[in-house]
């Protein structure tokens, strides 16, 4: 125990004195600060000055919330045209109302003209109404979240309905009232709301993935460096391999956690400092959502992060002890990486596919090499019985101890083998013999 704490302290000190560790952490925090302060800085320097709008001859402008300055800055103009003048005028109002985020400009020019404006990037998008019941939506690059066409459908339907009602002799005011009937609804999810939990689950899975990748490799490098500098000759006679293994891996786990906490602490702090400037923007909403993680889930996150990290860290450490040259580390750890990819991908696919409770996912949520990813995903995105969570944690914790002991054994045999890297079978043989 004494040896373990000596090793832990020494390794931690090594991390916190390591220039690349310190520089990466500081750089991350600075970049985060930059991003978080960006809207505030832009607000301070932006604004003011009128912008000439040079394209076409807008016959009709629906200016609701937007000002011409904003048009110039954001280029968020929707160009609206139609097959005849009357339809164009009829559509302008409903479109402007349905697209408050755009400055809707109506033109009486041809479809070709609207198309060219979009193509050359003068406007964000364009709508050309072909007939009373059809239109074309022009946009340069269709974004994944683009649902303008759905809104445009609504606008078109409204225009068509109004004109039908007008023909039937219903007064415009009555027609608007009929169409404007407001429905309210509440969505009550008795389990988890996957849409809300999606973001932070995704981020956490990804952080765990990156942490294992980076720090696991660091553990392997660390062991291989000690071996190649022959400090190992002395270490192996001074400390027990088990203390060595656990000391190193836990130290890198703590170093990783500190880095992650600094980064997320940075996001949290700088976001809150600049909250008003992020306002209701999409990015702001996501960040806000991220900091709304329920406390219980945070605890699970920590448990699975720690155990998952230790599980793979031990494995990487053991592998590091079998190579003689630091250059060989990256090839040597490939098999262990392959072992941890299924967990990551199953998590991601089940999240995006929505099938977090399928039997495949359930099986993988108990296997130690995938449970840190998969069980955490299930907890976050679905309702998992407490017993299943406990079972998964116990399996993982026991596996960590077993892998740790095995890793210490491999380490003891591995560090004394120089030269050609033993293949997996000779390694297993000598570990059993040792």
């Amino acid at each position: 125990m004494n040896q373990f704490s000596t090793i832990l302290k020494f390794e931690l000190k090594g991390f916190f004195k390591n220039k690349s560790y310190v520089i990466t952490t500081v750089l991350f925090v600075v970049i985060i600060a930059g991003i978080m302060f960006f809207p505030r800085i832009r607000a301070a320097f932006g604004g003011g000055g009128s912008v000439e709008i040079t394209y076409g001859e807008p016959v009709y402008e629906m200016v609701l919330d937007a000002t011409p300055e904003m048009v110039g800055q954001m280029n968020e103009v929707m160009m609206l045209g139609a097959y005849d003048e009357e339809s164009a005028y009829a559509a302008a109002q409903p479109f402007a109302e349905l697209f408050p985020e755009y400055l809707v400009m109506m033109t009486l020019e041809s479809e070709e003209y609207i198309r060219s404006l979009v193509e050359e990037g003068h406007v964000a998008c364009g709508i050309f109404i072909d007939s009373q019941t059809s239109y074309k939506y022009y946009v340069q690059n269709m974004e994944m979240t683009d649902n303008n066409a759905d809104d445009a459908d609504l606008a078109m339907r409204k225009v068509a309905q109004l004109s039908v009602m007008e023909e039937l002799g219903i007064a415009q005011k009555d027609a608007e009232a009929i169409l404007g009937t407001e429905i309210t609804h509440q969505e009550i999810s008795l389990g988890k709301n996957q849409a809300v939990n999606f973001f932070y689950t995704y981020i956490m899975i990804f952080v765990l993935y990156m942490a294992i990748l980076l720090y696991g490799q660091m553990v392997a490098m660390n062991v291989a460096t000690e071996k190649s500098s022959r400090a190992m000759e002395l270490l192996i006679t001074s400390a027990k391999p088990v203390s060595m293994m656990f000391g190193k891996v836990i130290a890198s786990c703590i170093a990783g956690l500190v880095q992650i906490l600094l980064i997320f602490g940075g996001i949290f702090l700088f976001y809150n400092l600049n909250k008003p400037y992020w306002g209701g923007s999409a990015a702001g909403t996501i960040i806000g959502m991220f900091f709304n993680i329920p406390a219980g889930l945070l605890v699970y996150m920590l448990i699975f992060f720690l155990l998952g990290f230790l599980f793979f860290g031990m494995m990487f450490g053991a592998i590091g002890s079998t190579v003689s040259k630091v250059e060989d580390v990256s090839t040597a750890i490939t098999p262990a990486m392959i072992l941890y990819l299924p967990g990551f991908f199953i998590s991601i696919f089940s999240m995006t596919g929505g099938g977090v409770d399928s039997s495949l996912v359930r099986v993988f949520s108990f296997l130690p090499f995938s449970s840190p990813f998969v069980m955490f995903t299930r907890i976050a995105m679905s309702t998992v019985p407490g017993l299943e969570i406990a079972l998964s944690v116990v399996i993982l914790a026991v596996s960590v101890v077993l892998v740790g002991l095995l890793a210490a054994r491999i380490y003891r045999v591995g560090v004394l083998l120089y030269g050609k890297r033993p293949n997996i079978f000779t390694m297993i043989k000598s570990v059993i013999r040792a």
């Binding site: 004494n2 040896q3 000596t6 090793i7 020494f10 000190k13 090594g14 000690e226 500098s229 022959r230 400090a231 190992m232 000759e233 002395l234 270490l235 192996i236 006679t237 001074s238 400390a239 003891r412 004394l416 043989k429 000598s430 013999r433 040792a434």
Partner: protein, 314 residues
Amino acid sequence: MRLELQNIHKHFGDHHVLRGLSFFADSGRAFGLLGRNGAGKTTTIRILMDVFPADDGKVLIDGAPINYAKTGIGYLPEERGLYPKKTIIDQLSYFAQLHGMKRAEAVKSIDYWLDRLEMTEHRNKRLDTLSKGNQQKIQLVTALAHNPEIVILDEPFSGLDPVNAQLLKDIVREEISRGKIVLFSSHQMNYIEEFCDAIAILHGGEIVLKGDLADIKHNYPRNKLVVRSIQDADKIRETYADRIIPHAFESAEHKNDLMLRLQDPSEKEQIMRDLTGRFAIDGVMVFEPSLNDIFVEYASEDTGAEATNAEVKS
């Protein structure tokens, strides 16, 4: 205190590396563990230090199984190496703490040793800024700082200049006089001869010779004569063709000395008389082997048979 290895066996795979090795070393004395490359010295040291267990046999301190928590061992490995990028005081105190010292205690002891080795000015430098010889002195501190009862020095003199070698000799003498067990492993026989009271020669995983160095030398079969004759060397070689040991002194100072084998030590007087009567002799004496000669004889493959029937009682 007596450190004893009893009937140690070790296999690596199908390779039987140590075959029933036994020896003991007493405190206040230096013990030399000799053997050619691959004879099993490092394996013996690793078993002694509990890096891995022996397949069979015991490591005893005063007759009881060794307790590694109680008995401190200091080790200077043949393959030198520490952390090149870390400061000297940091890594030295790390190793001393791994051996169970408190940090303050460790730093105090390290400062003593750095001073003793004239390395105090380098205390806070990174290891890789030091010359190779100085790095080796730093490594020596890792073997001594925690004040172990047993000090194992594997090729301690390699890479040291004569001044540093002298410094190390003084330190080794001090450690011996403090009542420690000092275990030497070296190929440099002159150092072993200088320090060690007792030796064991390992060959092919077995001890082929062990005991007090003085006894070994004294009991060495006195069955060889060294003959120096500048005038009649060729004649003597012809006359005693069946007794001449060829190339015995080729690399020595007196290249032209001859070595004659006696069938029995009692022949000595007769042959000496013969030689002095018939030839112009500049000198004739009974061959007193150096440790080097003994080592070469016992640790060569082709003389292995001769070695096994020459057990020396200590």
